[in-house]
Every structure is written in structure tokens, then in C-alpha cells.
């Protein structure tokens, strides 16, 4: 029996390092992918970790974003004018109607309309009641109108004692339909249509009516304007106009983005939601981290002897490190991809109109989850790599 003799192997001839790495990368992938039990365990663990991070993150974001529901429903204004100490869109101090005129007189303001927002109770025949979010919009311009009509006509809102009900709130109002009469704060309110709008933080049913009807349904004294919605002239600078409104009226004028930030900041820092939910998300991350790191560490440990053999046969530490990182990267990406699937489905299902959960899954969360996963797998790899780098090849003789 004779072996083929080749003294001129690529190494001695100076074959490129890329060849060496290419071959060893394939070996690393085969070690990973062909060990199906461990590979599946790794992918399942990483998918679960991804799902945990992404799903908890999307619920948290959805919940926070939900607090800006009123803002999201109103697309027309460039500025929201409110009491300057307003911290949260649903925690407002109304101002007098004379402020609407004052705001209109500020240079750069194209239009300014009042908007009413407050809570009201709908009483049912059986003696029970439901709290609703009552939105009052200007009767003439209908600025502040809901984003989308589902049934009925928006113009019907101009008729006396009429209201529009947010579509997903029908069950909360005993499956109301057009023509039904609601007993709203002990006043008569006729449903003339259904619209689609984002529910607020408390998920109360939203009822739209005109500003005049709203202040009649919910008497609040002389200061009845919750928000003044402002359109800025096309050639005017929004920030400068906002500053001028503040200067001339003493009110606060905020862009929708600023108002959103204020609201989200309030939810995060002024309520327990930020800290409580933050801990939950962090726990999800930590559990994901622990699961991922432990599984990958275990996988590498079980392959440690093979790495020792490779080392004994002449594989450099740097190559072994890249092999481990490649394995980590591949299972990380596959686990991430699979884990994102259920998280995405959960988001789609959760965002159906009227769903109490409102997960929000922007690409930033996706990217953050990927970064989180890579940190998890990176830490798992670091632990593993420490073992691989300090591995004595002499263990192959044991």
C-alpha cells in the first residue's frame, strides 16, 4: 500500500491564506450543519431568544406609541397649541376660546381651529356604562376629523346631536349601528357613522362630534378648548411661528413630533410603565442572552476535542477563532430570521383594528433585535473562544 506522494503541497508553494480559510470555513459549517440535533437546538434557542426580544420590544413600542393615538389621528395641523405645561396629550388644561383668535393673528399662521378632547360616559339601558374618549372638531372646517370613514358620511356630523364612533369600539357600545341613540353624559347622541382611528393609551372607545356638541355633552366651564390646531403658511418657518405663538399668546406651540416626544417621555419617565415594561424587555433580552450564550457555549464545548485535533494538526488560533465566529454568525442569522417570523405574525395579528395589543415592529426594532442577537451570540462565542484559544492541543492524547 503506497500513499500518493506530493511534496509540493499548496502550503509550501505559498497558496493563498484565502484558500486555507475557505476550506476551513467549509469544515466549520459542516461541523455545525451536519450535527443536526445540536444545530436544531441552537437554532431553536436562538429563534426563541429573537422572538422574546422582538415580541417584547414590539409590545413595548406599541404600548408607548399607543399613547400618541390622538396625535396620530389628526394629520392636518403643523402645530398643536396647548397650555405650555402640558406633558401628555391626554393630560391637558383647556384654554379659553379667545385664544383661538389670538393664535390666528400670529404672523405665519394660515389657520387655527379649536379641538376638544375629554372623557364622557355612555350609559346603557341595563344600567351599566362605558367611558369614552370624546373628540370635538370644528363644525365648519371639520379639521381634526378621523383619518378614515368606514360607514356613513363625515358631513352628517354637522347635524345636531350627532356623533361618529370609532369602528373597533362597536362591541364596547353594545354593537351599535347607524341611527342608534347613545346616552352620552345623560345627553342624546345619534350615531351617524363609523370611522377608523387609533385608540388611545387607555383603549377607550373614541366618539367624534363637533366642538359645539362636545362642550354641550361635557360641560367644562369657560375654558373649553383642549387643543388649538394650527396650519402654518407655506412660506413660513414652523419653528419660528411656534416661537411667535408662544411669545404672543403665552401658550405652548409644538410640532406633532415634539408633542409625540413629550407624550412618550411622560409615559416612559412619569409613569411606572417605562421602568416596569423596560424591566420585562430587559429580562427578555437577558433570558435570550443566557439561552443563546449557554447553547452556543455548550456546542463549542462539545466540539472542543475536534478543535484540539485541528490545532494539533496545524490549525492556527486565528483560523479556529474565525471558524467559531462563522458558526456563531450563521446560527445567529438563521435563528434571527426564524425568530422574526413569529414576531412578525404576532405583530400583524396584534395590529388588527380594535385589538387590545398594539405591537409595533419598525425596522429599527428589527435592527436592534439583530444587534441584540449578535451581542448574545458574540458573548456566547467569547466564552467559547476563550476555551478554544487556551486549548492545549495535548488534550488529543488524553
Amino acid at each position: 500500500m503506497r500513499l500518493p506522494l506530493r511534496a509540493d503541497c499548496g502550503w509550501a508553494k505559498g497558496d493563498s491564506g484565502a484558500n486555507a480559510l475557505g476550506g476551513m470555513y467549509k469544515i466549520a459549517l459542516r461541523m455545525l450543519l451536519r450535527d443536526r440535533g445540536k444545530y436544531l437546538a441552537l437554532v431553536c434557542g436562538l429563534s426563541f431568544a429573537t422572538l422574546l426580544i422582538a415580541q417584547q420590544g414590539s409590545i413595548f413600542l406599541g404600548l408607548v406609541l399607543r399613547s400618541t393615538g390622538v396625535l396620530q389621528n389628526v394629520g392636518q395641523p403643523d402645530l398643536w397649541v396647548v397650555d405650555p405645561s402640558t406633558r401628555y396629550i391626554l393630560e391637558t388644561r383647556p384654554v379659553g376660546e379667545q385664544f383661538v383668535g389670538r393664535v390666528r393673528s400670529v404672523p405665519g399662521v394660515a389657520w387655527a381651529e379649536p379641538m376638544f378632547s375629554n372623557y364622557a360616559n355612555v350609559e346603557f339601558a341595563d344600567g351599566t356604562f362605558k367611558r369614552v374618549q370624546l373628540i370635538g372638531i370644528d363644525r365648519t372646517t371639520l379639521i381634526g376629523q378621523p383619518p378614515e370613514m368606514v360607514e356613513g358620511s363625515l358631513e352628517d356630523l354637522r347635524a345636531p346631536d350627532t356623533v361618529l364612533v370609532e369602528e373597533s369600539s362597536r362591541p364596547k357600545l353594545n354593537n351599535a349601528k347607524i341611527g342608534d341613540v347613545l346616552r352620552l353624559n345623560d345627553k342624546r347622541a345619534v350615531i351617524v357613522g363609523f370611522c377608523r382611528a387609533k385608540l388611545g393609551f387607555e383603549s377607550n372607545a373614541i366618539v367624534y362630534t363637533t366642538f359645539d356638541n362636545a362642550v354641550r355633552f361635557t360641560p367644562v366651564g369657560r375654558e373649553r378648548v383642549t387643543f388649538i390646531l394650527v396650519g402654518v403658511k407655506p412660506d413660513a418657518d414652523r419653528t419660528a411661528v411656534a416661537a411667535d405663538i408662544g411669545k404672543f399668546t403665552g401658550l405652548g406651540a409644538f410640532t406633532p413630533e415634539e408633542m409625540s416626544r413629550r407624550t412618550i417621555g411622560f409615559i416612559l419617565y412619569e409613569t411606572g410603565i417605562g421602568i416596569n415594561f423596560g424591566i420585562t424587555v430587559l429580562l427578555g433580552f437577558v433570558v435570550g442572552l443566557a439561552v443563546t450564550a449557554a447553547i452556543f457555549y455548550q456546542f463549542t464545548l462539545e466540539n472542543l476535542r475536534h478543535f484540539a485535533v485541528l490545532k494539533a494538526m496545524g490549525t492556527r488560533n486565528s483560523v479556529l477563532v474565525r471558524m467559531v465566529l462563522l458558526q456563531a454568525g450563521v446560527v445567529g442569522m438563521i435563528g434571527f430570521g426564524i425568530g422574526c417570523g413569529p414576531a412578525g405574525i404576532f405583530t400583524i395579528l396584534g395590529r388588527k383594528p380594535g385589538a387590545e395589543l398594539a405591537p409595533y415592529f419598525p425596522w429599527q426594532l428589527l435592527a436592534l433585535t439583530l444587534v441584540g442577537m449578535m451581542i448574545c451570540i458574540g458573548l456566547g462565542s467569547l466564552l467559547s473562544l476563550r476555551r478554544v484559544i487556551t486549548l492545549e492541543p495535548a488534550v488529543v492524547f488524553k
Binding site: L3, W11, A12, G23, M24, T315, R316, A394, V396
Partner: protein
């Protein structure tokens, strides 16, 4: 270009050293204080380039430590350990690893094949480590497997082979990269008597396959298996971290009178009896 330059490879090839292994006063201690174990206590050993040397001795006498130091997978605490004229202590870890890959092939008791790789992929690994292109590595691995009579099992996984077949794969893997030293750690310990003889035949044949004596491979075998002693050019007996006795092929004939070796080392004719 690989970290080990072509220049250094040439230098090794042209050293003109007649010795493959040269150990001078090598010591190795594991642990420290009262729990320390002196594995080697000043070992001197020379092995010629084409020699087949067997290291024998009781468990814990330092055989494995010795071959680990010879093959560069373990550093000595003191003394000089040279392989083909290269002093391991003068090389950094990275250089040691590269030299080891170039100069040494391993055959282990537990075969140490990677279970998720087919046997042809296992055999190709030493070549891939050296940067040989995959296609060429697989071709050469297939040829190596054919030479150990496993050319028809190239796609099999190690778990689908018997112990003897796995050891033949390990031998093909050890030899495919053309190493100048083959270190075998108890190569027959996991095999039955007949398969052990087949494996040793293979090791000896492949090590001696070159007609030019200067380019024959050096083979060092750690073993307890008395049935394979007759394959050795020289048997080195160790005890308590020291070399106790060395018997060459010639002196082994004389050693028939030494009770222990007479009992342990059968003649080739006796060993080949079923």
C-alpha cells in the same frame, strides 16, 4: 502566502540533520507544590529520520508527555527538544502550530475523526489546513483512502465504519500531508489482535514506502501492546519519567534472554500466528 514561508520550509528540508528527534535533559512537571507530578525527569533521546521507535512502559510513566513534547503540542519545562533540527522552544505558539502541521502526522488511540465529516473530508483536513484547494485536497484524500483500502467508502461517516477502518482513516489522514514524523498514540489499543496487526502493517508500509532512506518517515509509537513490538526498529522503555532501557532490533535478539522482553516481545513469526 502562509505564515510559514517557503524559505523556512526549504531550510528544514536542507538541514542535513540525520536525527528526526533530539531530546536533551527534557523535564516536565504538572501542577505545583505538594500535588506536583514529575512526568519527565531529564530525558535524553535521539531518533533517526527513518526509525520506527516504540515507547513502552507502565501507565503514568511519561510516554504520552514525551510524545507530546516531541510533536510540539506541549512545551518542556527545561531541556532541549528538537524536531528535525528545530528547537521547539525557539518558536512562538503560532510558529509551533504551523511547524507541527508541516512536520507531524498523528494517529490517536480514539481515532479523533470529526464525526460530522465524511471520511474523505476528514482525510482532507490536514491539506485544507495548509491551504490546498478543496478539489485537490479531496482528490489526494481519495487517493490516500484508496491506499488504505477504503477507496470505496469515501462518503461514509466515521460512525459507519468499524474501529479498524476508522484507524485506517486516521492513518490516511496522518499521512496525506506528507509529514516527516508520524506519532501514534496507542494505535492498536482499541482494536482486536488481527486488526491491530493490519494497522501496524499499514503504518510500517506507508512509513517505509519511499525507496530513498533519507526521505523515509520517522514513526514513534506509544503502546502497551506487546503483540506489535516486533514492528519496532527500537523499543524504548520508560519508567517514572525516565528512559529505563533501549532495545534495538539487533539487541532484541539478544534480549531473548532478558525475562521481561522475552516474555513480552514475540518474534515476527510468532506475532503473525492467529
Amino acid at each position: 502566502m502562509s505564515a510559514l514561508s517557503a524559505e523556512s520550509t526549504v531550510r528544514v528540508a536542507n538541514t542535513g540533520e540525520s536525527l528526526a528527534v533530539e531530546l536533551r535533559g527534557v523535564t516536565k512537571t504538572y501542577g505545583s507544590g505538594s500535588t506536583s507530578v514529575h512526568a519527565l525527569r531529564g530525558v535524553d533521546l535521539e531518533v533517526k529520520k527513518s526509525e520506527l521507535v516504540m515507547l513502552v512502559g507502565p501507565s503514568g510513566c511519561g510516554k504520552t508527555t514525551l510524545v507530546s513534547i516531541i510533536s510540539g503540542v506541549l512545551g518542556a519545562d527545561s531541556g532541549v527538544a528538537k524536531l528535525f533540527g528545530i528547537d521547539w522552544s525557539t518558536l512562538g505558539n503560532e510558529q509551533q502550530t504551523l511547524r507541527r502541521g508541516e512536520l507531524v502526522g498523528f494517529v490517536f488511540q480514539q481515532f479523533n475523526l470529526i464525526p460530522t465529516l465524511s471520511i474523505i473530508e476528514n482525510v482532507s483536513v490536514p491539506l485544507l489546513i495548509r491551504g490546498v484547494r478543496e478539489r485537490e485536497a479531496l482528490e489526494r484524500a481519495a487517493a490516500a483512502l484508496t491506499s488504505v483500502e477504503l477507496g470505496d467508502r469515501t462518503k461514509s461517516l466515521p460512525s459507519q465504519l468499524s474501529g479498524g477502518q476508522q484507524q485506517r482513516v486516521a492513518i490516511a489522514r496522518a499521512l496525506v500531508g506528507e509529514p516527516r514524523l508520524i506519532v501514534c498514540d496507542e494505535p492498536t489499543a482499541s482494536l482486536d489482535g488481527h486488526t491491530g496487526q493490519v494497522v501496524m502493517d499499514l503504518i510500517k508500509d506507508t512509513a517505509r514506502s519511499r525507496t530513498d532512506e533519507n526521505h523515509r518517515r520517522c514513526v514513534i509509537v506509544v503502546t502497551h501492546d506487546t503483540r506489535i513490538f516486533h514492528y519496532a526498529d527500537r523499543i524504548v522503555e520508560m519508567e517514572d519519567g525516565r528512559l529505563k532501557k533501549t532495545l534495538s532490533q539487533h539487541t532484541r535478539e539478544e534480549a531473548a534472554h532478558v525475562p521481561r522482553f522475552a516474555e513480552e516481545s514475540p518474534s515476527p513469526a510468532e506475532a503473525s500466528k492467529p
